[in-house]
């Protein structure tokens, strides 16, 4: 028999093996997605479908592409740029809430959860692989959104702001991944995990200044939004991408997002480990 040396412990070989497992989990999800081409195409265009009502409604409210009241609140009245930059990030909240949050539940439905669980890799690696797939998917959807909105309505964004905006985006994704790990842990215990995912998505949608400035929310909601990465990320990205935009809150967005990222990742890992141990001890892994 050929001897196989499995890497163990925190070292470069083990890390490489874990990253390979994350990548393969991502590839697996792409293969499943391409097996249903109709569903794939539908999911690519769904961000446009949900963005358009916000845009058309906004344009009808003010009778054009400029809102005086919005300009008073945040320094810019450009309705299209404001809503587009806001909604662009909403799909990535879906990555955390649905793709990661539902990853465990989906494996249960397929009947492959036990097989995945006995694989000699970190369970978190599986969740991260699904997150990677969803993030790449969402990037494609965002590019399609950008093209459609630019061609239909015109879009004025600062080109020099793209790099710092991407930096803010990366920091936001770190924190969102941590949040997603928490939700995937909940999926191990709760039978109707989609209710939790949908509820949290709805709440984050309100706390994130997607189609309105943060200042419109009640004070307690504004304070609560500081605990989630989307609000500071949106404000930060808008300040780099939209001419004249005046950031309403949060000070140094980069530091804020770094702290949130570290906190959510740590919290996510702790909750996942506790829940994972609890579920396996009680033999609840495959319970539907």
């Amino acid at each position: 028999m050929r001897q196989v040396n499995c890497p163990t412990g925190f070292n470069w070989s083990n890390l490489k093996a874990e990253l390979k497992a994350v990548w393969e989990s991502n590839v697996k999800d792409w293969k499943i997605e391409f097996a249903y081409p109709v569903s794939f195409i539908r999911q690519l265009i769904s961000p446009i479908v949900f963005l358009l009502p916000f845009l058309i409604y906004g344009l009808v409210l003010v009778g054009g592409e400029y809102s005086e009241n919005l300009a008073l609140l945040v320094g810019t009245g450009d309705v299209v740029a404001f809503i587009f930059t806001g909604y662009m990030l909403m799909g990535f909240i879906g990555t955390a809430v649905w793709a990661m949050g539902f990853s465990i539940r989906r494996e249960r439905w397929f009947g492959t959860l036990e097989a995945i669980y006995v694989t000699p890799t970190s369970r978190l690696g599986q969740v991260l692989g699904m997150a990677l797939h969803s993030t790449i998917h969402q990037i494609f959807a965002t590019i399609i959104q950008l093209i459609v909105i630019y061609v239909t309505f015109g879009l004025a964004l600062k080109i020099q702001g793209i790099l710092p905006a991407l930096g803010i985006f990366a920091l936001m994704m770190l924190a969102l991944y941590g949040f997603g790990i928490v939700i995937s842990a909940l999926g191990l215990i709760l039978k109707e995990g989609w209710v939790v995912s949908d509820s949290l998505y709805s709440i984050m949608m309100i706390l994130s200044p997607v189609a309105y400035p943060l200042i419109v929310l009640p004070t307690v909601a504004q304070q609560a939004s500081a605990l989630f990465p989307t609000a500071p990320a949106l404000i930060g990205m808008r300040s780099f991408l939209i001419e004249g935009y005046r950031a309403e809150a949060f000070g140094n967005v980069f530091v804020h997002l770094l702290v949130l990222g570290a906190a959510w990742i740590l919290f996510g890992i702790i909750v996942f480990r506790i829940t994972d141990g609890y579920v396996r001890k009680r033999g609840m892994l495959t319970k539907f």
């Binding site: 569903s39 906004g58 003010v62 609140l73 509820s199 309100i206 189609a211 309105y212 419109v216």
Partner: protein, 284 residues
């Protein structure tokens, strides 16, 4: 048995099937109380961003441009009515379309379809079950919205609104039968339900008046039953119109309902016969 007695017995039997199918659907829903709480409350969260957006863009509770197009500047009740009716349509359409698929998941579809009764009455029972649960959710959402946002709802308005909802349900039954027919054959009705939901969401005046869309989109929008329901309900509740002043929309609504129902029944019967013949009814 005389012919009269036979027909009475047959009718009693069919109504018994409808009743039991309805009871089964409700029992199935009651087994998941979190789902009931979710649908009764959370759709309200989905339109709050639109209300906040309105406040941010307009700086108040009324929009002059809205008033020019719709006859009322109050965008909040406009949004609430759109959201509640859209949520009603989604839960009903999705519920009925997926109901047959659920029987397949549970392994009971074969037994349902070989039961010695007309399958149409099974579908009617399922449709009534979904209608009842969707109506309860919609009433809950509307009540919550009225309490949170101060919407004025009177009994005089609710009676013609109720009649409009019945017309909407008829049209949706037709669409649901079409979806169920596809579900029997192609097994993936979810994507079709979602795509129809997308079409409703953009082309029906859920969040904005239909006049704000380009002409080609307005024509497409006017083929959707939800469009007429929204126009009629908003005219009744926001503009104080009565049914006699909007009778042309009511008549067009009825015509579309009839077309959808006839198409739905025909397609379902044809697809059911086809899948029985091919032996793929319980295939996944």
């Amino acid at each position: 048995m005389s012919e009269n007695a036979y027909h009475q017995s047959l009718l009693r039997g069919n109504l018994y099937v409808v009743w039991n199918e309805l009871v089964k659907n409700i029992k199935s829903l009651l087994a998941y109380p979190t789902i009931i709480v979710f649908w009764a409350i959370f759709p309200v969260f989905w339109f709050i961003p639109f209300i906040l957006q309105g406040e941010a863009f307009v700086g108040g509770l009324e929009s002059a441009n809205f008033a020019q197009i719709t006859g009322t500047g109050e965008y909040i009740p406009f949004i609430i009515i759109g959201a509640v009716l859209n949520s009603y349509v989604n839960t009903l359409l999705y519920g009925i379309g997926e109901n047959i698929r659920k029987e397949a998941y549970q392994g009971t579809l074969d037994y349902v379809l070989v039961a010695p009764c007309n399958q149409v009455y099974v579908l009617i029972g399922k449709a009534l079950g979904e209608s009842l649960s969707s109506t309860i959710f919609a009433v809950s959402q509307l009540t919550l919205s009225a309490l949170l946002f101060g919407m004025n709802i009177t009994l005089g308005v609710m009676l013609p609104v109720f009649f409009t909802i019945i017309l909407l349900i008829l049209g949706l039954y037709g669409m649901a039968l079409i979806l169920t027919a596809f579900s029997l054959m192609y097994k993936q009705s979810y994507d079709l339900s979602e795509t129809i939901g997308y079409i409703f969401y953009i082309f029906a005046p859920v969040r904005y008046p239909i006049e704000s869309l380009p002409n080609w989109a307005q024509i497409l929008g006017k083929l959707i039953p939800l469009t007429y329901a929204l126009i009629i309900v908003r005219s009744l509740m926001l503009l104080g119109s009565d049914l006699s002043t909007i009778y042309s929309d009511v008549i067009l609504f009825l015509v579309i309902d009839v077309i959808l129902l006839v198409m739905g029944f025909y397609l379902f019967n044809w697809m059911e016969k086809k899948t029985r013949k091919s032996g793929t009814i319980s295939h996944y």
